[in-house]
Symmetry: C6
Subunit: 254 residues, 6 copies
């Protein structure tokens, strides 16, 4: 779970540049100098630090259920590596909580089922919020971005959509280092763009629904785990294994 306004690589850096430019202008300087740049960094970083304090109790609760949601869906997805550790102690500006999976990233290949499981696991946090609380939060925005990225790649690069066939639709990706005018930002028709949108949405919708059924089916584990997390702040491998022992894999994934 990543806070909604923590994209340091994007907006924050843009702010720094902009802030420095503004400072330079206010000082009637012709160029943005070292001084302005430093001051701009301080201002923006200070703004970030101010935010970097303890979460309030309600937020901690949301984060706890959110992270347990990820863990249970991961656990019930056959072939998905189990979560080894969960924490709700914020780590720097990067994350409010996290579920440590033995990452699939040192894998050479990903199978379609694995990609779908990964999407369901990413959506599991939001699903947990929706089930437990009356309200949903902004905390899932990074999960949604990653789940969407995977779904888009399945559809545009891995040939995993029936409707679109084995055609590859991300040609521009390979050209982005060339530093020249791209051959065409989007090399497919509007009607193809619509099918891509439909296919991506369908993948996300199906996995969201699957994650929802899984968590509804395991409401007690979700509650028990979240409550434990709120007390202990993190759960290590053995505690998690004990918790997950009572998970019902349900009709969806038998």
């Amino acid at each position: 779970m990543v806070p909604a306004d923590r994209d340091l690589g994007g907006a924050d850096l843009a702010n720094i540049v902009n802030e420095a430019a503004l400072l330079a202008v206010r000082r009637n300087k012709e160029k943005v100098g070292m001084a302005e740049f430093e001051e701009a960094v301080e201002r923006v970083v200070a703004g970030l630090e101010k935010k970097n304090q303890l979460m309030n109790p309600e937020e901690r609760k949301i984060v706890a259920y959110h992270e347990m949601g990820h863990a249970i869906v991961a656990h019930t997805s056959p072939g998905t590596d189990p979560v080894k550790k969960i924490s709700i102690i914020p780590r720097g500006i990067a994350a409010l909580g996290y579920s440590l999976q033995v990452l699939t990233e040192d894998r050479f290949l990903m199978k379609k089922t694995e990609l779908l499981n990964k999407i369901a696991t990413l959506l599991g946090g939001r699903v947990a919020e929706e089930i437990v609380f009356e309200d949903i939060s902004t905390g899932a925005h990074n999960d949604l971005a990653r789940a969407t990225d995977i779904a888009r790649s399945m559809v545009k690069e891995y040939g995993m959509s029936e409707r679109l066939g084995k055609v590859y639709f991300s040609r521009e990706k390979r050209q982005q280092f060339l530093l020249m005018a791209p051959e065409g930002a989007q090399e497919y028709s509007e009607s193809t763009a619509e099918i891509i949108d439909d296919e991506v949405k369908q993948i996300i919708d199906e996995q969201y629904e699957r994650a929802r059924r899984l968590l509804l089916n395991n409401r007690e584990v979700l509650e028990k785990g979240a409550k434990k997390l709120l007390v202990e702040e993190k759960l290590e491998t053995e505690e998690l294994e004990a918790l997950m022992a009572s998970v019902r894999h349900g009709p969806e994934d038998a």
Copy 2:
């Protein structure tokens, strides 16, 4: 309430650059030098300073009702932090008046209801103008921009629209610092763009209507507060609390 032509970060700086270029050309100079740049800054800043005088009585009246509108909607939105101070003394070039809320910005997470309340609060200023005066003003343009930004994020980044589902639609945001040709300015189809527009408009419309009902329901507080503001120029926490004590939360948010 921010004046309509005060985007120092945008148009003003562009004017400075342009002004300097024009000066350089008029002087047959090959490059825009320090001299031109300074003169351009002076011209533009002077243009701004000229504007930075006292508001006329009618403007003060609009600002007073506008700021009270923000405050009352904030007060009647459960879970929204109350406004602690209102002022109608212009602050530099940045604002004509302001309502100081204990900002939600040091929050880690925002819930959907909170985002909707924030939108309604932002729209409250314009609603007050519409209720009290025959005419509406340009003073809400910054409020509208911020309310629209929140609504767009709800729909495109936080998965808070039923019709669009949990798909994330702002992929480019994370790439804007890369300084390279974007992978596609808009990575969704025209038909998706239309749904996004519809969803954003619906959120804004609903919150505007809710703010309107709330303020109509509390017309006396609005009048009393605005009149007090016009006399005293600012209202501190205690005065505001006294004022708000008689606010009716009405059927909309009970």
Copy 3:
């Protein structure tokens, strides 16, 4: 009234750059040097100076009626500051004639009615041409640009269109100084773009029609003022006040 080819900030400067580049190439130079730049400026400026002579009698007549058109519409628009001075002596390359209004630009806020009046006043010059002469001229092109800008802002930034609601549609404006790939040149759908076009056109059409009725209703003042202008070349405050005393505000704005 600004001549059609006097956008010094745009086309002229582009011409200078282009002219210099062409000179450099013709001289087999690798770079555009000081010499080429100076010569280019001279050529372009000379081209402009050549044009900067006396208008012919027919042009003077068009300008006189055009400026009177602005003045009468401004006078008959309640709440609009009256025109203090009119001149048909060309001022440098910037204008053929002008009507000096106590500008609304040191105002903090603009009301919707004021914006509409401003649009009608801008269109008044062209309306006068259409009423008086069989033919219309290019002289209104800058007025049309400014009127369109105001109408677009009303619709896209100030939430003053019923159909589009309180949504803000100019997000990119705030980002134009960032010097990075814009997040999307146009962040709304084609169908929204169509509504924006319709709304802008309707505002312009209505104010044009209003200005037309006002000037038809005050044809004698228009004639009298224009003839006086052709003789005296400028009209100061007192002369204008005397002239405007007989203006009929008519059914449209009573």
Copy 4:
């Protein structure tokens, strides 16, 4: 009449740049140096010079009728300045022939009728080719570009189209010197773009048809003038006046 491949400002310069880059690569140089640039200029210029020889008899004939076409339409358009000189001696790389009009460019204002006459005059060359020869040539391409530019400005900048009204559609023009991401390359909807295309085409079609009727009505003067031109290579004011004395202005412009 300008030859079809003589856009020195555009394609030729691009060729020079490209040629120089190619040379640098072939020589394993890291940068395009002075040497490559000079050689590239020579190659491209040589290519142009080769073309800059005498026209063949058939081409001369086409040019003669083409230029006479311009002259007669200009003569029969009331309010248009008469052509003072016609020549079919190629001038450098810029033109194959020309008709010297007392230019309207030192005018402050252009009336709608004058713009239409200018378009008709520009199209007159092509009309003459179509009437006299079985075949049409590429020689009119620059005339078409200029006529289209005028028609587009009438429709997009001068408010001279009934269907589009007094709206201004070239906002970007004023921003092209800002050297920043444009606010939107095209700030109007596709449906507006279609109307603009229709209106421009209609203006061009009507003036083409008018020029055609005028020249058909004055076929003898066209023949007589062209034949004279082919013998004498240029016609000065007096010769032209004598020729034009017998022009019939016809029903179209009486």
Copy 5:
């Protein structure tokens, strides 16, 4: 077979640039220096190296069948050069396995049938996965990109589509070195873009189906070859010739 996240030319390099920029900002440096660049390279390369270990048994199995798929389709495509060597030993970051064909790349011309065979051969890997395993993997993504590129060139550059005729649709390709604003990213209409998409999809679909029939018809060779590969890790020319001797070319290509 190339792993899905190994586009060193694109994403990885972008990561390095981005990483270096982030480091510079964190160190309050005004510019990205040598130090940051080196550290960024190390980080990204380290991330890659971590991945560059042995494949797990299931992955090796997928790769073996995938590569045999390529080889058999190549063998059964008349006129296609036979595969000379197959390996499932990962080579650096570039490939998981490979089938060494005597490349057609030192050919001057390619015939339509050869291009279609090349597409079928590229798709053969994915087809093999689909036939043998319940699940498909990301391993074909580079094959799909290359097959799509060939199909697009057939349709847009080689005039090999009945519906599109002999028109050439990739004009921008020749201009991409010019380093200037492209004349139009896409110089054809949306309706043409749709036909292009359809034609490309049809080519890919047909060759996929052909490859599928071929491999179904040669299931035993596929199994035998893949098993041998899993034991011996590579197959040289003679072993391959022996294997392929029993391939049935089937009704599809007789």
Copy 6:
């Protein structure tokens, strides 16, 4: 006839730049230096040289018929300059074979019929392949590009399409040297873009069909000439004249 992957001006140079960038990164260098650039050039050029060997017999046969196709269509197009020399000896990386026409490029004007003849001549090579061989090759791709360029200019710049009229549609062409944001990459509506596509396709289709009828009508000359070319490798003016003497101009161009 130009091989399909020989666009040195475009893709190859892009490859060199990219290759150099990759080398620099692999060597942990901050900048692409001379060394990397040289090595990159060598790699790419070596890749090209490898290809630059003798054509195989089948390729030579295709080239021979292809070049004869150009020559016969040129010969039978009235007003087109005859081919003076044909060769099937590859010339560097630029061409596999060529037909030397006395070029029309030192012409000042091109007539519509001449442009159509030029298109038919360009398409003649591909037509010959289609008539003689069961299969078509990539060898015509450059011919198609040039024929399409001419057809597009006829339609967009020379006013030679009935449906589009005398409107000029390539405004951006004149602005490409300005090095600034173009005023609009495509200044016409989607519906106009569709008509342009249709008109271009119709021109190409008609000339392709005409070339086909001409070559079918002269099959013997085609065979005789191609066979002679395969033996002698080139045909000079006199041999060609003898060959062409028996060409039948057929009903199409009588």
